[in-house]
Symmetry: none
Subunit: 195 residues, 4 copies
C-alpha cells in the first residue's frame, strides 16, 4: 500500500486519518465501521481502500503518527535543558498539554492497549518514551538528585501517574491541563510524603 499520492491524495488521506481517529476515540476500534467512516466523510467505500489496505492498518498508522507527534512535542519542550529533573518536569508538562489538546489520540492509545493486535505497536512506541525518561533519570541519579532505584520502574511509574491523572482530571473532569501537570510533577517528585 505504498501508493504514489498527489497533493490531493495526501490531503484525502489526512482527512481520513483525522476523521477516523475521532470516530475511533468516540466509539472504539471495533464498533467503528469502515462504512461509518466513509459515509461520515461523504465518500465512496473504495476511497478508504485506496489509501489503506485495511481498517487495521489505518488504526496502526494513526497510532504510530500519534506516538511520533507526542514524542516530538516532548523533545521540543525539553530543548537543551541541562537539568535532568527539570527535563522530566518539562516532559510531563508537555505531554499533559498535548494530551489535553488531542484527547482523541489519548483514547486511541487506550484502545491500542486493550487490543492484543495493537499492543505490540503501542509497546514499541512506549518503549521509546520510557527510554527517554530513563535517560534523564539515570543522569539525575548520578547527580544525586534522584534516589538510586531501577530507572525503568521510575519511568513507568511516571507514565502511569501522568496518564491516569490526565484521564481522570482532564478528560473526565475537565480540569486545566497545566494544573494537572503540576500535580503530576509534584507527585512524581515527592510522592505522598513530603521531603
Amino acid at each position: 500500500m505504498n501508493r504514489q499520492l498527489t497533493q490531493r491524495g495526501r490531503d484525502r488521506k489526512r482527512q481520513l486519518m483525522d476523521f477516523a481517529a475521532h470516530r475511533f476515540a468516540d466509539n472504539g476500534y471495533h464498533p467503528t465501521s469502515v462504512a461509518e467512516i466513509v459515509s461520515g466523510m461523504g465518500v465512496g467505500k473504495g476511497v478508504f481502500y485506496w489509501y489503506f489496505s485495511s481498517k487495521e492498518e489505518l488504526f496502526l498508522e494513526i497510532l504510530r503518527e500519534a506516538q511520533h507527534e507526542l514524542r516530538k512535542v516532548q523533545q521540543q519542550a525539553i530543548g537543551d535543558e541541562p537539568d535532568p529533573v527539570r527535563r522530566i518536569e518539562l516532559g510531563i508538562r508537555a505531554s499533559m498539554v498535548w494530551l489535553a489538546e488531542h484527547r482523541h489520540l489519548f483514547h486511541v492509545f487506550q484502545f491500542a492497549a486493550a487490543d492484543e493486535r495493537f499492543a505490540p505497536a503501542l509497546r514499541r512506541g512506549q518503549d521509546v518514551a520510557v527510554g527517554d525518561v530513563v535517560r534523564h533519570v539515570k543522569e539525575a541519579v548520578v547527580l544525586g538528585r534522584v534516589r538510586d532505584t531501577d530507572p525503568q520502574v521510575l519511568a513507568h511509574a511516571i507514565l502511569g501517574v501522568t496518564n491516569n491523572l490526565a484521564r481522570t482530571f482532564i478528560f473526565e473532569r475537565g480540569e486545566d491541563a497545566a494544573d494537572v501537570a503540576e500535580d503530576a510533577i509534584a507527585f512524581c517528585l515527592h510522592g505522598l510524603v513530603d521531603a
Copy 2:
C-alpha cells in the same frame, strides 16, 4: 434476568463467567463471540441465554464481580491496621498480588476502560476504590504523615502507578508481584526524590 438457580445452575453460571472472562482477556470483548464461549464449554446457545440476557450483561457481571473481589481482598489485607499510611501500603501490596493471580481480570478492566459502554460501570467501581484510598490519605494528612494535597489526586496517582507497574513488570516481564509492590509503594511514598 434474576433467575432462581439451583446449585447446579449456580455452578454452570460460575463456569461460564470464568471461561468467558478468560476468552475476553485473551481476545477482547468484541472479538469474542457467544458462539465461541458456548462451544468452548461444549454447551448449546440456549444455556448462555438462560443465565445471561446478553453478552453485554455477562461482561458487566464479570466486571462487577472482579471489582468486588479486588476490594474484598484489599479490605481483608488492611484489616484493622490503625496507621493510614500502612493501610495504603497494605492495599497496594494486596492489589498487586491479586492482580498477578487474576491477570485475566486485569485485562477485563482494560477492555472496560476502552469501551464507552462499560466505562461508566468501571468508573463506579473505581470510585469506590479511590474513595477508600482518599479516606486513608485524609487521615494521614491530619496526622501530618502526608503532605496536604488534593487527596483525589493522590489516590488517582497511586492507582496509576499500581496499574502501570503491574502491567509492565508483572504481566509483560513476569516479575514477582511482591517485588513490584515494594517498588510501587516506594514510589508512591517518596516519588523520585528521596526524602
Copy 3:
C-alpha cells in the same frame, strides 16, 4: 464444521447441496453468490454457514460426492463381469448414462478443472477412476485383448473421449446417452481405422 446434525439438518444440507450444484452448473462457481443460493432457497444467510464453513467447502463437498457417486455407479454396472474389455465398455456406458442424468454435476467437474483451487481435489478423484480403468486395461493386455501400450495413456484417452462426446452430443445436442455411449465405446475400442 463437523456438526451433529438432526434429520432435519441433514435434509437441509442435502437441499443446499443440490440447489447449489445446479446454480454452480448454470452460472459457474464465481458468478454464483452465496446470497443467491440462500435467497433462492428462501432461507437466511446464516443457514448456509451453519452447514458449510465457506462457499469453497460447499463446492468441494459437492465435487467429492459427485465423484463418489459416479464411481459407485460404475462399479455397480461392472459387477463381477470377468472380461476386462467388457468391463471397460460397461464403465463407459454407465458413466455416460449417469452423466446424462446428472449433467449439472458434469458441469461441476468442468468448473473444478478450470479452477486451480479445486483442480487437486478433482485430480484425486480422477486418479481413482483412471486407476480403475488401468486395472482393466492391464488385465486385457495380459489376455492379449488390448495392444501393449502405457495403460495410463489408454485410460486417459478413454476418459477424454467419454467426456468430450458426452458434452458435445448429450448436453449440447441432446442426443441419447445410450447411443453416444456406443459411439464412445466403438471409438475407444477401434479408433478411426476399423480392425
Copy 4:
C-alpha cells in the same frame, strides 16, 4: 472499440493481451482483476480501457486470437498433404506441440469452456476445428481408410483424446509433446484393440 492504433499502441495492446493471458491462465478469469493486470504491467487503469472496452472483451480477444493461431499452425503443418489420414495425424501432432508451447492458452480454453459467457465463442472456434477434421475424415471414409461412422463423432473423439492427453501428460506430468502426440495418434487410429 476499434481504435486506430499507432505502432506503439499495437505493441501495448499485445503486451496487455500476453500479460493478461498468463494471469488468466494462472488464476482464472474471475479471480484476475483488471487492477492486477494494469499494476502488474506498471500502467494506469486508463491504459486498459483505452485498448479494451471491458475485461470480458479482453478475454474474448485473447480467446479468438488463440483459436486462430492454433488453426493457423494446424493448417501450416498439414500443408498440401494429400493423404487424409496423414492430415489428421499432422494436425494432432501440430496441436500438441503448439499447446505445449502455449499452455497458458490451453488454460484460457478451459476457462472459456467453464463460463457460459464465453462458451459460445469457444464453441464457434471449436466448430471450425471440428469442421477441418470432419473434412479429412469424410475423405478418408470415401477412400476406405476409416470406418464409416458419423464423422462429427470421430472428430470430437479425436479432440477429446488430444486435449485430455495434453493436459494430463504434458501439463501435469511434463512429458514430451512429441511423444504424447504419438500416443494420441495411435489411440485415435486404432483404439485399444490393435488391428
